[in-house]
C-alpha cells in the first residue's frame, strides 16, 4: 500500500463558493486567433493566481472552419470546462453570432467584432452588446491578424477578470521568443480594444 493520494480525496477548498467565477466563450473562424486569445486570457488569469480551464472545441479543424473555445476562471475549483449558457461571449465572425448568440445567458455580455458581424437581424434586449470594429482597429495598428488581441483587451477591460497588464505579461509567456518583437504592437491592440469596452 502506498501512502499518497490514499482513500477519500477532498476537492479544492471553495473560496467564495460560486461567486468568483468567470466563464467566457470565444468563437470565430480558423485563422482569427480564437485559440491564442483563449490561451492568452487563461495564462493571464494563472499569472494572477487563479485557476483556469481552457477547453478548445475539438473536432476536425481547418483554416476557415469554425473555431471555438471556452475559458473558465475561478478562485476555487473551475468545475465544468464546458458551459451551455455563457455569461460572456466574444464573436469574431457572423456565423458564430448567428449560431451561438441565442445561447448567451440573460444578463450576459457579447463582445462582437463589428467589422465582420452585422447585428441587424439579432434582437435580444436581455444582454449587453459591445460592438468593437476589430479588423479596422487591427489594420490601423499595422496588422489585421491582431483582431484577437483587440478582443482579449476588450474582454479584460469589460469583465474585470484580469488586469490588462496581466495580458501583456502573458503575451511574453505564450508567444515564442522569435515573435517577441511583435509584442509592443499587440499591447497597443489590446489597449485599443479595452478603451472601447470599459464599463
Amino acid at each position: 500500500m502506498i501512502a499518497y493520494l490514499q482513500g477519500k480525496h477532498k476537492g479544492l477548498p471553495l473560496q467564495g463558493g460560486y461567486t468568483m467565477r468567470h466563464d467566457l466563450f470565444i468563437a470565430g473562424f480558423g485563422g482569427q486567433g480564437v485559440l491564442l486569445a483563449g490561451n492568452l486570457i487563461s495564462y493571464a488569469a494563472i499569472l494572477e493566481g487563479k485557476n483556469v480551464s481552457f477547453f478548445p472545441s475539438y473536432g476536425v479543424e481547418k483554416r476557415g472552419g469554425a473555431a471555438m473555445c471556452t475559458v473558465i476562471i475561478a478562485e476555487g475549483e473551475t468545475g465544468s470546462p464546458v458551459i451551455g449558457n455563457p455569461s460572456f461571449a466574444i464573436f469574431l465572425n457572423q456565423a458564430s453570432l448567428d449560431k451561438y448568440g441565442d445561447k448567451v445567458k440573460p444578463g450576459g455580455v457579447c463582445i462582437v467584432n463589428s467589422s465582420l458581424v452585422s447585428t441587424d437581424g439579432f434582437s435580444r434586449d436581455d444582454i449587453e452588446m459591445i460592438l468593437v470594429p476589430m479588423n479596422e482597429i487591427a489594420m490601423q495598428l499595422g496588422d489585421a491578424r491582431m483582431v484577437n488581441m483587440v478582443a482579449a483587451g476588450a474582454y479584460a477591460a469589460r469583465s474585470g477578470a484580469m488586469a490588462l497588464s496581466a495580458l501583456g505579461e502573458a503575451l511574453v509567456e505564450v508567444l515564442p521568443e522569435r515573435n517577441h518583437k511583435f509584442i509592443p504592437a499587440n499591447l497597443k491592440a489590446m489597449e485599443a480594444g479595452a478603451d472601447l469596452a470599459r464599463p
Binding site: M1, Y4, K10, G17, V52, Y58, G59, I83, N85
Partner: protein
Amino acid sequence: MTKRLFVKGNEAVAMAAIEAGCRYYFGYPITPQSDIPEYMSAELPRLGGEFIQAESEIAAVNMLLGASATGVRAMTSSSGPGISLKQEGISYMAGSELPGVIVDIARSGPGLGGIDASQADYFQAVKGGGHGGYHIIVLAPASVQEMYDLTMLAFDLADIYRMPAMILSDSVIGQMKEALIPNRRPEAELPSKEWAVRGKGEGDQRIVKSLYLGDGELEAHNWKLHNRYCELKEKECRWEAFRTEDADLLVTAFGSCARIAKTAIMLAREEGLKVGLLRPVTLFPFPAAAYEELTSRCKKILDIELNAGQMIEDVRLSVSPDTEVFFYGRPPGTGSLPTPEELLEQIRKHY
C-alpha cells in the same frame, strides 16, 4: 510555490511519466492522444531513453511487455481502436504479472466512431478487456493536475501489485489546458524486481511467462491473481466526496463527466437543493465501500455517464439496500457532451 505551468492534460501525462522514471515509450499515433507520443519523442532520447513509433498498436503493447519484463518503467498510449488492438498484449502482461502503464484517451465508438469525448470504454477497461478473466488497475483523472499525479501513482501501483495500470481519460481532460504544479515524484516503498529477466550471465534462470500447463498450476496462478485483486479492493480505493455531508441526492460520475456534474451541483446548491458528488478516482478497484457508506444515509443516487450506462452496474452492486439508482447518460459523438445546465435539469427531476 513552484511556478504553475499551463499545459494540456495529455502533456501532463507525458511529463508525469518522465518524472516517475519512465524512459521507454512505444506507441502508434491516434487522435486524441497524439500529444503524448509527440512529447515523449522530444524528451526521451535526450534522457537516454527510447521512443519507438511502432508499426502497429499490437507491436507497441508487446514492446511494452518486453521492456517491462526487463524491469524498467515503460508506457504506451492510444485511444479506442488502438486500445482494442492492445488487449491481447494486456492480457499477456496480466498473466505474466508484468507492470506497465497504458494510457487510454478514449474516443467515441464503436469501430472508428469519432474523436469526441467518450466514457463508453468503461467496461473494456475495468472488466478485463482481453481474454482470461483478469483485471488491471484503472485510474480516472478529472483534471490536468490529476492527469499528472495519477500517472505517477499508476507507475507505483503497477510495480507494487505487478500488474498493468491504465489511465482512462478522454479528449475533454486530454485536450483541455489547466494550471499544473509539476510535483516531484512521491516517495513510495517499492518491491525489488527480482523477477526481471537480465540476459544470459550469472545467477539463476528467470522466466517471464503466462503459460502454465502443469496439473493445478494455472488454477493456483489464477487464485494468486484473484487474491491480488481482492487486496487492491481492500487497500487502494480512491474517491472524491464533494458536499455529500448533508446531501439528499448523490450524483456519481467519473472523469470529464464529473467535472460537468460538479458545476451542475453548484448550480443546484444555489437553488437550495442539497446535492453532493461521489466521484470514483479508481475505477478498478471500484470504491464500493464509499458507495455503501454514503447511501446508507442518502437513499437516492443519480449516475451520469458519457455512454448509455456502464458504471451504473458497479454502482448498483455497491449501494446499500433500498437505494434508488437513477441514470442519465448520452452515447458519445459530436455534440453529445452534456452541459451543466442539462445535468441540472436531471438533478431537479430526481431530487
